[in-house]
Symmetry: C2
Subunit: 451 residues, 2 copies
């Protein structure tokens, strides 16, 4: 990566320099020499005045590439500053799915003016009907569709007519007279078959597809499972509506992983580190408040045992150890469960087996950690009783996480919610409260028995 | 997905039934009708005896597909039970990179016997030299390479000669007489150019490549950034050694995300939920022990303030709230930082800006949460003093996470380690210890001042 990053950084300085010296034309030529992802990288690092100076000098193809490669929210900001007719010209050079996404994000009144001014509006308009997050919302229009009745020769000359900007083609889908999807042809088999062969004879009829209203994650999983470069999207009558390409499925899998990472950390939605303050507060504060109220459960447990604590303040020294280690054990089990669910490795029907595995593991880990804690207590505080209490409490607590860390995410999954979202807070609160209850309950019972 | 899963489950029952009734041939035919991923899914759910009964009846192509699609560790178990000559026949039908990976995982003595018995050993052997985790270790041999001097017609007839099992081709790479990579030809442009055109005239000379010893993650990031379906791997002299295909880059990006998720939860390596007990303990226990010793820092802080706690046991009730909420705030900041580093969104040079952002965010969140905690303390414990102490401690503590949650992962990244691995434990321990110190320090100062 380093080589390319250095190139891009050097180029950014040159482009800024040229713009400062009033030569946007040369700056544009420099930018046009880069690959789309790098063009967008440089463009994104320019300030708005610089962007507005260079954009009119770029040809529409490169402007379209940049808008496609920018983060969605950045592309909207740039699009908002462009006149509707200028934006329409650029969007005519964008992939239909990217154009549809952008149109859906800018203000509706302007979007309809842009659509009116576009030459390729007919390719984009049907895509606007589908909901975000569905297969239909993700697909692009299938620019190249063969007919079952075509000959190989006709198909090849049809391919020749395509303009060079068209998206790379991976598979050629075949429809019948009613536009129903009936097969797929590999480009290589088209090249290597006799010119007179009929498409219906050389096509593979075993072709996977998804309904337009299916969840986008379902489509992405299908593509991942079967290593598909493109997945056709159909309506209820099996009519071909469009195609989802592998780069989209790649993005979705990465987004889902990021979402899981964030949700496990108590952030319901992705929050880039440069999010404006107001939005970042809106995304992160609510969870802290929920967490606070969940911590009240543990606080109430502790409150119950205030007299025990005043009697033996040394008990408090082991709070972070008992609670901390059990919390970590809970996080481990929970994370393994949530990620295994996301990767399709465990399902509710295996729950008993998974719990049994985690129970054994927790038993071993709990005994090991409990013994160490007991030893520390005996050596440090010279108290066998404290050692026994802390050790047993830790053991019980770690074992309990084998249940909560598996059952809670599986139960949430069963109710069609995302286990990554709600599980951590519930498991943490339960582990914590139970930990204090067992630890202080044992202590208070022993103290009562001794006195 | 559901449709396919039901199909696979039904088929599994049928296959098991046929095997039980001593008809492995029919079971094999049933299995051969599935897509590779589903074949592997069914096969994986058979017990070892059933697997051994059906495998000799499957044709080598399907056996090869199954070995490719199984999880690596499962494939090794199956391969270990096969005779070397039988395994060699199957491996001749595997993709060279998959065959090389499997050979590297079985015992060396058997691997060399298998290699001796393979017909395609020359394709696989060069791949064995490269380290795992490098671009070379990930590549497969480039089965179709065009020469710059070929005509389009020669190139097409060369394509025709390929056997149908060959991996899907995405791009056709072009080398010169010294086998140096000089360009790439799109299959579609090959189809649509005059038969007499020379490859060197129609090829695109702007082709990205990686060195064989580059990190595999670097290769995957490059493919993702530039939406590449295949990336050529070259030696120091720019000679073409092989090709990394998009499905590998997809797997790596997913593995890296999984690794981050696990590491953030304190599990250094991926641990599937069905890992054998011994290995699971080995992976999870050490981190619990490290965690335990880190918690000793907080325990020492608490120990310092034992007399303060005996004087005012109500203080203890707010431990889980002060520590819990600050811990959550720390996890949030840390996770945003770690994921942003992984996605290449922040770098050490932006550290000041990121810290400033997180500082402001923590200030707002800290004030809000601190006020709520103070209010709870006043209402519940009827103590303004307790409210002030708990509120201020939480505020100070949440603000501190804006520094630790950003600086620590960035520092670890700077020293070329994985920030996801060590950051959580350090940030948690520091937040926790500081939290108790501020909370109890304030309390003890105020108590001393009041008395």
């Amino acid at each position: 990566m380093t080589v390319y990053e250095i190139d891009v950084d050097t180029l950014l300085v040159q482009v800024k320099d040229l713009l400062e010296h009033g030569d946007p034309k040369s700056a544009a030529i420099l930018l046009e020499g880069l690959r789309p992802a790098d063009q967008a990288g440089v463009f994104d690092d320019l300030n708005p005045e610089e962007q507005d100076a260079i954009l009119p000098k770029l040809n529409p193809e490169d402007s379209a590439d940049i808008l496609e490669e920018l983060e969605e929210e950045d592309a909207v900001v740039v699009a908002d500053r462009l006149r509707a007719d200028k934006l329409a010209t650029i969007m005519d050079h964008m992939e239909p799915d990217e154009a549809a996404d952008l149109l859906g994000d800018i203000e509706p009144e302007k979007a309809s003016r842009v659509l009116d001014a576009m030459l390729d509006a007919t390719e984009v308009e049907p895509l606007l009907k589908h909901q975000d997050q569905t297969a239909g919302g993700l697909m692009t229009s299938a620019s190249i569709v063969l007919k079952a009745g075509m000959s190989v020769k006709t198909a090849i000359s049809y391919l020749r007519k395509l303009t060079p900007e068209d998206e790379d083609i991976y598979y050629l889908f075949v429809t019948d007279r009613a536009d129903k999807l009936v097969g797929v042809v590999n480009l290589r088999s088209l090249v290597t078959q006799p010119a007179t062969a009929k498409i219906s004879d050389i096509m593979n009829t075993d072709v996977l597809s998804v309904q337009a209203d299916a969840d986008q994650e379902e489509a992405a999983k299908l593509m991942k499972r079967y290593d598909l470069l493109a997945l056709p999207v159909v309506d209820n009558n099996q009519r071909l509506l469009g195609v989802i390409t592998y780069d989209d499925s790649f993005d979705i899998m990465e987004d889902e992983a990021t979402e899981d990472i964030y949700r496990l950390a108590g952030i319901p939605e992705e929050t880039p580190s440069d999010l404006p303050l107001g939005e970042a507060v809106k995304k992160r504060l609510p969870w802290l408040v929920v967490n606070l109220f969940m911590a009240l459960i543990s606080a109430s447990v502790l409150s119950l045992f205030e007299s025990t604590i005043s009697q033996m303040a040394a008990l408090a020294a082991f709070f972070p150890i008992v609670a901390g280690v059990s919390g970590s054990a809970g996080t481990q089990t929970l994370t393994v469960t949530v990620r295994s669910i996301a990767l399709g490795e465990i399902e509710p029907k295996n729950a008993i087996k998974v719990i049994a595995n985690q129970f054994l593991l927790s038993l071993v880990n709990g005994i090991a950690v409990g013994l160490i804690i007991a030893l520390i207590a005996v050596v440090w505080k010279q108290s066998l009783m404290l050692g026994m209490i802390a050790g047993i409490a830790t053991l019980v607590n770690i074992i309990s996480t084998a249940f909560t860390g598996v059952v809670i995410p599986l139960a949430i999954q069963k109710f069609k919610s995302d286990p990554a979202l709600a599980s951590p807070i519930i498991v943490t609160a339960l582990t914590d409260a139970l930990g204090y209850l067992v630890y202080l309950g044992l202590a208070s019972a022993l103290l009562a028995w001794l006195i």
